[in-house]
């Protein structure tokens, strides 16, 4: 398949919470968690999504896997509009891995039951076929066959996350959306799961959406990165280009803020950390209050996500992007 065959296309996706009226007719406050995201996912890539807490990463991910419906905009999978094909068709092709490995597994079911459910309900496989696939699946995630008869609480965090990954793969999806898959794990176990994801992707020709607030993890696993701020994508670029020379001042702030071993950083310029009020968003750039490059025009209109001088694949939503020598 060619580079630009888009597996998934998101167009102007938005998700609003609250709103409407109370029984007495008063307006309820409305919060927009995701505001007009347009993003394509190419087959075989690992798209990293980074951004600070509350910027809308999980809300976007949940819409992508059909756990939540967009308030506006649409998602197309292989050109087919997902609002018409329903969630079952979507679930077979796009699966989700949760942040908290143990609590995302049903405590009353054995691992066998957990892994068999998608094979039965989404793939409609018979007993013999399920058995054969279970054996392969459990081996693929480096667990032993006798684990199938055990319950989730008997496993460590790293093992439980491998079961979570196996459950996602049981439906034979094309795309796996991983929402902070290693954030809850001990650092010594993170590498096991990252290495496993790397191998599974190669073996099964998967496409990943990898959400994390850990930039080092994202840099090590993603081929492309999208940075979210206040419900919007503010920059997207191939991973190497993004980390080497970001265009958006927010991306640079993130990179400069992440502590790196053996690097004593110079003094940071006292970031205010101030976010706009999500119930009353400003008309212009949502980063303006924190931005060292802000000018008058930034506060008037929202900068669109567009290419600058760095090729087709590097886009930023900024009127005064950074320049690099």
């Amino acid at each position: 398949m060619s580079e630009d065959a888009h597996l998934i296309e998101m167009r102007d996706l938005a998700r609003t919470f609250g709103g409407g009226r109370t029984v007495f007719g008063a307006r309820k406050p409305q919060l927009t968690a995701v505001r007009g995201v347009s993003l394509d996912l190419a087959k075989g890539e690992t798209l990293g999504i980074v951004g600070e807490s509350g910027c809308g990463k999980s809300t976007l991910a949940r819409m992508l896997v059909g756990l939540d419906r967009p308030t506006a905009g649409g998602i197309r999978l292989d050109g087919e509009d997902l609002s018409s094909s329903g969630t079952k068709a979507l679930a077979r092709r796009v699966q989700y891995v949760f942040q908290d490995p143990v609590s995302s597994l049903n405590p009353r079911q054995t691992i066998r039951e957990i892994l068999e459910a998608p094979m039965r309900h989404l793939l409609g496989l018979g007993r013999a076929e399920r058995e054969a696939r279970l054996a392969k699946l459990i081996e693929d995630v480096n667990l032993r066959p006798e684990f199938l008869e055990r319950y989730p609480h008997e496993f460590s965090g790293g093992q439980a996350q491998r079961i979570g990954i196996a459950r996602a793969l049981a439906a034979e999806p094309d795309v796996v959306v991983l929402d902070e898959p290693v954030s809850a794990l001990d650092v010594s176990v993170q590498a096991q799961v990252l290495n496993l994801l790397d191998r599974l992707k190669r073996e099964r020709g998967l496409t990943y959406v990898f959400i994390s607030h850990d930039l080092a993890v994202v840099e090590s696993i993603a081929t492309r990165v999208a940075v979210m701020y206040f419900g919007e994508i503010v920059e997207t670029a191939p991973a190497r280009a993004m980390f080497k020379a970001p265009l958006h001042p927010y991306t640079k702030l993130l990179i400069d803020s992440a502590p790196v071993p053996n690097r004593k950083r110079g003094t940071l310029g006292g970031d205010s950390g101030e976010l706009p009020d999500p119930y009353d968003p400003p008309p212009g750039c949502p980063f303006a209050a924190r931005c060292p490059r802000v000018e008058a025009d930034c506060r008037e209109t929202m900068p669109p996500l567009e290419t600058k001088n760095r090729g087709e694949n590097h886009r930023a939503a900024c009127f005064h992007p950074l320049t690099w020598p």
């Binding site: 650092v187 502590p259 053996n262």
Partner: protein, 191 residues
């Protein structure tokens, strides 16, 4: 952060772990300012080597309830003597080094109420030898500022498996098999 009465010592237990990087950077900056201006000592507990670089003059690495290595920050981070320290550093991705191979630490720590005789790290250590499995292993001076609890410590530039590193290993990651072959609860309560 709560700070009453001009303290002489601040113990900060993973104070920035749940924070966004920009907020974390701000908290670390404030803490650093505080200790410089008021000469306050800081005991900072973290699992993040980046944060360690940022804030610490000296580091103590703990394993199974004991300090297994201690020394100046730069020395510990670049050329540790204890195999556990080396493995812990090597399993974490570092920003700016996306090609770096991540080597997971196999297995899990022993339950602290069921420590084996000898070195508590022996079951997971690639340098383990017969003498590691008995007796008390003291925390001893090794080289430079480093003290370590290890009978076969690493020399500067020496890789875990004995060969000298000319360049950090690069390329494909490799995975370790499920380490504790006797099942998930073989080592007592799970971490």
């Amino acid at each position: 952060m709560a700070l009453a009465n001009d303290p002489e010592l601040i113990i900060a237990d993973e104070p920035t772990t749940a924070l966004d990087v920009t907020v974390q950077a701000e908290v670390l900056r404030l803490l650093d300012e505080l200790r410089r201006e008021r000469n306050t000592a800081v005991l900072f507990i973290t699992h993040d080597f980046g944060v360690v670089s940022e804030i610490a003059d000296r580091v103590a690495v703990m394993y199974a309830g004991r300090i297994v290595e201690t020394g100046r920050t730069e020395e510990i981070l670049t050329e540790p003597a204890h195999p556990y320290t080396r493995m812990l550093i090597d399993c974490v991705p570092v920003m700016g080094e996306p090609e770096r191979r991540l080597d997971a630490v196999p297995g899990r720590p022993p339950a602290v109420n069921r420590l084996p005789p000898g070195c508590a790290f022996a079951d997971r250590c690639p340098r383990v030898e017969a003498d590691c499995r008995s007796g008390e292993i003291p925390l001893e001076e090794k080289r430079g500022s480093l003290q370590a609890r290890c009978l076969h410590p690493l020399q500067p530039g020496e890789a875990l498996f004995g060969e000298v590193i000319t360049d950090r290993p690069k390329g494909r990651r490799h995975e370790l098999p499920e380490a504790n072959a006797s099942g998930p609860d073989a080592h007592g309560p799970l971490p």
